[in-house]
């Protein structure tokens, strides 16, 4: 194919990468603060998509607007999830949260199946399904929406962590919980808010995912694997790393398809993640394991 088409491919891969980065942010925040990789991460994102679907069905509003309702609900879910589940099992050993989040993933998938049946769902935004021409390139509007959202969310979280007391507390507690306690920060409560924040980000990602791709109750696991890959590439807890990792993942997917055919596209991505895990488990940009 000609140069312009190839450039278009790369460009869209970058935009797609933004969406992957956005999806990974929630996992990164959760893992960076609570030191727990939430295996149900993808399922929570899909849960948010289904919540948006129900709200849109009921109120007939635009999917982006539905976020105003979905995001707070997911925040509360995250808060309660942390308080009653993760906080309880954290002291039980490093692997207990793995089991819990895995079981939760199954529960969410089957609950969604029961409530919504296995029919294909989509958050429909007809105005995004058009053709845009930009300097001879065709950026995908849906991917672009994900990309822009990723940048906005990134900026927001960055400012939150740097400027607000709660944000700084969230970064302090995993670093040295004893010192934090001494100045009056209760780590449990901080964790609860952190989880809520993480779920808020997951909600945004989930809605964007629902707008961009069709989803089913069992769509979650693909996204947790990809998000995990992004987080690992970027380093646990590093937002910047997740952003870059997302771009790499997006390009890997698009170029993998180009070079190996779509038969091996996803397999290529997974292999890349596994190889990076093998070579540099702490992530390409450092960070704690």
């Amino acid at each position: 194919m000609d140069i312009l088409s190839f450039v278009n491919l790369i460009f869209n891969g970058l935009l797609l990468g933004g969406l992957f980065a956005l999806t990974a942010f929630g996992l990164s925040v959760f893992a960076g603060i609570m030191r727990v990789i939430n295996i149900a991460h993808g399922d929570f994102a899909i849960l948010a998509a289904y919540l948006a679907f129900s709200i849109i069905d009921f109120l007939k509003i635009d999917p982006f607007l539905s976020l105003l309702i979905v995001a707070p609900i997911m925040f509360v879910i995250g808060y309660l999830f942390q308080k009653f589940t993760i906080n309880r099992v954290l002291p039980m050993g490093a692997n207990q949260p793995v089991l819990v989040t895995f079981a939760l993933s199954i529960v969410i998938q089957n609950l969604l199946l029961l409530l919504f049946t296995a029919d294909a769902r989509s958050l429909i935004t007809p105005y995004l399904l058009t053709n845009i021409e930009l300097f001879g390139l065709n950026p995908s509007p849906r991917y672009a929406a994900g990309f822009i959202s990723a940048l906005i969310v990134f900026a927001a979280i960055f400012i939150f962590f740097k400027k607000t007391y709660l944000g700084k507390a969230m970064r302090a507690v995993p670093f040295d919980s004893e010192a934090a306690k001494m100045i009056g920060i209760k780590s449990d409560v901080v964790y609860n808010y952190a989880a809520g924040l993480a779920m808020l980000v997951v909600a945004i990602a989930g809605v964007l995912l629902g707008i961009t791709f069709t989803f089913y109750p069992d769509t979650g696991p693909v996204y947790v694997l990809l998000s995990f890959g992004v987080v690992v590439m970027g380093g646990l807890g590093s937002l910047k790393g997740s952003l870059v990792g997302g771009f790499i993942m997006g390009e890997a997917l698009v170029l993998g398809g180009f070079f190996f055919g779509s038969r091996f596209q996803l397999m290529f991505c997974y292999l890349v993640i596994l190889i990076i895990l093998y070579i540099k488990p702490q992530g390409l940009f450092g960070g704690r394991v």
Binding site: V232, F264, M267, P281
Partner: protein, 316 residues
Amino acid sequence: MEEEFRMANLKNYYTYIVIALAFLASLPLWVGGFLRDALILFFLYLAAAEVWGFMAKHAGIVSLGQQIFMGVGGYATAVLCMYYGFPLWASVIIAGLFGAGLAGVLSFPLLRLRGVYFSIGTFLAAEIIRLFFNSWEFVGAGKGLIFKDAYAISTTLIYYPALAIGILSIFLVYFLYHSKLGFGLRSIGADEDAASGLGVNTFRCKASCFTLASLITSLVGAVNVVHHTYLNPTSAFSISWTVNFLFVAVIGGAGTIIGPFIGSTIFVALGYLLSQYLGLSLLLEGLVVLAILIAIPEGVWGVISRKLKVKLKPPF
């Protein structure tokens, strides 16, 4: 005042065990076809859950990739038998060994990873293998394989290998717990860095454990294909296998030998009871597992042994 647990010594129960084994061996001769099917499932899930639970609870290795061995065990059996003409049961055994060999190879990239990284690594590996099999013409790719040679094998005949694998898994778990390897594993499970500092070769211990456990799991996958006679990559390598083994182990009591007996009974029974209702069984089991993980992590057997104030020699 602290309750005193009495240690029960297994030697006193040898006669009971022999009677139980004789009873189990006689079962297929007089129960109906349906119960035979249920029993085969019971023993297969029991075996897989025993080894999974041991790895998770005592060695600190939570594998989310058991489906690799279920699928490989199944495919290897069918291929050896149908394509290369090996006798069916020999294929089963070789498939088991092959799966163990694969586990040995996979240990190298995967066991470098710790904790949840390892877990997700196993899940990733399983997905890669699944996608690979889905494109591999030799094994029928997405169409799958129909294991015609197994049609003639009656469920009575399949029961005995299933029972044998179940018993084998118990011996393996017992051996793993009490052997020098097991001691090393348990120290790794308690604190890997400390164990390494004390001179335990953590990689070799974990790899041995993973390989042995995968031997059992591959055998389970092999017998399963003889029973079900149909394989396709999506269901052979489905995460559902790990989900089911996890459920059986956790509900009964992960890491114990008796626990999975209870877990497997509940699992098989619930599966049949709820097969009439729209997909409720997984949801219910998931909720029960969550509740157990949060509130009673020692599982049903843990609760029973606590209430009866009985403690058996670990890992029972």
